[in-house]
């Protein structure tokens, strides 16, 4: 693969002067238009052998581009902050907004390859890592992130020479990305590394995000070639943004005239008559809260994280349940995250970004009052996104939760269900009590009118995301006390199992 990179690729000074002048001008125009359109963001991933000049390319791009909408995302060994989060967290944290360009050094490919070369992961784990990368990149593409994947190639002999020179010069080296590869020294290890790199480039070259391998021995050629790749990508993205048809009206789940089968629904099948023993409620609540407090302050919990997801019908009592859970937690180590309409910042990034930013570090708890499931609930029912978007969201959500659980975060998901009659009673009661009136809006009444669609969406959501590692708990919530106790008991039991 990519053998042509071994051919001589050179630009003499005059050629470079001419080409670079034209490239610069075009680049600035394209970057400006890209920033103005604010339709997509772009990640330029600069990978390749040590000594190939990744840092130099970076410098050149800063020289040629407008640095206001440019950011460098450089990753070495994980920092302490990063080690307490899922692997993928740091890439999400740094995701540039629409109209902006991120220059990535030491990104996800690099990390996987490095682990493989060091023998930290098996061949099978490496392969499955590559497949996971492809899924993530497909998701990013669908979310409007343009990926330009560049592999800078120099022959190993050349790289070694350059590294030796860098080493002589001493001091500055420690800070260079280069150091990361430096621990892979033996000839056999380096060969293995080269083979794995080839596998990586082959397997993760997809139609939507292909690799470009650039001959990096001649610095002038290298810099011009990377700039050209960036320019082509920007111009293509701009052309696509310009041609973009207005968002299609989302197709209804079911064409209107198709005879509908009666649907059996998990949510609809719940027996909502469950009631707590009112007399013993206070006592049981105390006991559960006490146990939860013990568990979440235990030494074992320090190496775990906890994510609680609350979804359910309007007025099902999410807030009340959350308050009972929260009361048992150390206030320094939890956060309740209410999810309502996304901010501008959030709209400018891939959908899952707004949730990644609120993931807890190890030893902490994040409580989501509504969550990433919004895409397959409200966004689906209200037609805020297309069918393609919410259909692919199931897979993306399963991947997302797998990334959390793999990082030792326990994910517990609740669906709080009430009957239509109970909801009506609660709405009426809220409307009549001044202190609670803010909790009931026009929108709530409108949503109520779409009860069957919401139920269908909830049921499909549970069917498609009830993963073994992150199962749903359906909570019969017509009786608030019953609901709260069930929520607490579920959390306590899961923690007891897991810790």
């Amino acid at each position: 693969m990519f053998d042509s990179v071994r051919l001589p690729h050179k630009l003499d000074k005059a050629e470079f002067a001419e080409i670079s002048e034209r490239l610069r001008e075009k680049l600035l125009d394209a970057q400006f238009e890209f920033g103005e359109r604010k339709q997509k963001s772009l990640l330029l991933l600069i990978n390749g052998s040590d000594g190939a000049g990744k840092g130099e390319v970076l410098n050149r791009l800063y020289e040629w581009l407008d640095d206001h909408s440019l950011e460098t995302l450089s990753y070495g060994a994980p920092t302490e902050e990063e080690r307490t989060r899922p692997l993928e967290w740091r890439y999400w944290r740094d995701m540039p907004g629409k109209g902006r360009i991120g220059l990535v050094i030491g990104g996800w490919h690099h990390r996987l390859l490095h682990h493989r070369a060091q023998g930290k992961i098996s061949r099978a784990a490496f392969e499955s890592g590559l497949d996971e990368i492809n899924r993530s990149e497909e998701m990013l593409r669908n979310e409007g992130v343009v990926l330009v994947k560049v592999w800078l190639h120099v022959e190993d002999s050349v790289a070694q020479k350059r590294l030796a020179k860098l080493r002589e010069n001493g001091g500055g080296l420690k800070r260079a990305v280069v150091i990361e590869w430096d621990d892979i020294k033996g000839a056999r290890e380096r060969q293995k590394l080269a083979r794995s790199a080839l596998d990586l480039v082959e397997k993760t070259s997809t139609g939507y995000a292909p690799w470009a391998v650039v001959a990096a021995e001649d610095a002038r050629y290298r810099d011009a070639a990377v700039a050209e790749l960036l320019l082509v990508a920007l111009e293509r993205a701009n052309a696509e943004s310009a041609a973009r048809a207005p968002a299609p009206t989302p197709a209804p789940t079911q064409p209107a005239d198709i005879p509908a089968l009666p649907r059996a629904s998990l949510v609809g099948a719940l027996d909502l008559s469950h009631r707590a023993d009112a007399e013993r409620y206070g006592e049981t609540l105390d006991a559960l809260q006490g146990r939860l407090s013990e568990l979440t302050t235990s030494r074992k919990f320090a190496h775990r994280g906890l994510v609680l997801v609350f979804e359910g019908n309007d007025a099902a009592g999410k807030g009340g349940a959350i308050r009972r859970v929260r009361a048992a937690l150390d206030p320094r180590r939890f956060r309740v995250q209410g999810i309502s309409a996304p901010t501008d910042e959030e709209l400018a990034r891939p959908y899952l970004w707004r949730f990644w930013r609120h993931l807890p570090r190890l030893g902490h708890t994040a409580i989501f009052d509504r969550s990433w499931y919004g895409r397959v609930l409200v966004e689906r029912v209200e037609g805020f996104c297309s069918r393609d978007d919410w259909m692919r969201a199931y897979t993306e959500i399963n991947d997302f939760e797998r990334q959390m659980t793999r990082a030792r975060i326990l994910v517990i998901k609740f669906w709080l269900a009430i009957s239509q009659e109970e909801q009506l009673a609660r709405f009426a009661s809220r409307a009549s009590r001044p202190a609670k009136r803010y909790k009931i809006t026009e929108e709530d009444w409108r949503n109520r009118g779409k009860w069957p669609q919401y139920e269908e969406a909830a049921n499909e959501m549970i069917d498609r995301t009830n993963a073994q590692r992150a199962p749903w708990t359906l909570v019969e919530s017509n009786d608030k006390k019953y609901s709260r106790l069930k929520v607490l008991r579920t959390i306590v039991e899961r923690l007891e199992e897991e810790l």
Copy 2:
């Protein structure tokens, strides 16, 4: 996942009569429109536990649909014919054309799952098989094949009872699909099977081809639900075909006004001055042909296949080289496949179909005079397909060739290169000799005008598909004798290595 399927799903006779009458009418309309539009084909994959009634569903669909554009694709243990080809061959062989519906029983998911349940493949191999399935299905979707993936679910206890009954009735059972699962009997094995099935459904539920799990205990509900899924898919496909914008003008690889770097090209870097020793040519040719004949009639070759791909500049001597190879082969066991414009049959199916149909069985040789690389050569340069199509083709081709090599087919690929001057001389000579005049057309002259674009396309093709298991051999062909000897020698050497 899909727990709602465990809820009671039933239709009584009257409900079924009403729903089925309306479903039938709609189905026929939708099927008719689907057939008229001829834009897509549809595969309905019916999977699920034994005893769930796959065969009965099939019967029902034949009753309700027009059987003229319907075909059953049913797969059991591979036949002798199938065992001598790559695993995937039988699915390709049966691929329905546009406007047609295939009902698939025992398809690719079934096979993988069965192997896993029998312990024939490791967990890692199973996972990587699932990823491969996703890639294939994405390709099918991109090629206009609608996939409806149905999993019929009955509880294991119900299934066992039904199977026992079938067994009592004896005779007919052997022919039923049911028998395939029947060898997985132990409770632990069946549990493992169920868990693997869950993994399969989770991992291969993608946005573009999600699973639908259907409660199959009640036959009426089951049949109506499958018919409804089919109807929704047909209506959606018809709506998409109706809305389909005219094919976009393919974007040029490089926007016209971007300063182009000088490209180093593998093809361009060849030293075309190589010449064969004319005096010893006949002798060497004889020796190589003799050796090739020995090798391809050896006992070891009986368990291998050979695919030879010839690509190159017009008039580079592909035909002459092929004749020299062919002369050494047993005429009963090779086939030369000239690839020109696709037939109607071929246009109605996914791109790779026309090549799958010509794959050799084990012990045989297929010689492709031009090949699947057409998509990234002529179709790219002439704008016959979009950039997205040829960009994804690299990945698809690498997958395709991996499927061949895994099935013990040796894939050898030649690029025959001549200089522009040599081509001109050959064109002129052809034009002046009546017997050869048919070999030179207007189109050849037009292609010649696009030399740089073809060279760029060839170079990128070699860079992106020069896989270790199926490498390219570049053949300097200004001297025909040199070219022919190099081709023969490469084949002989590769066979000697591999047998």
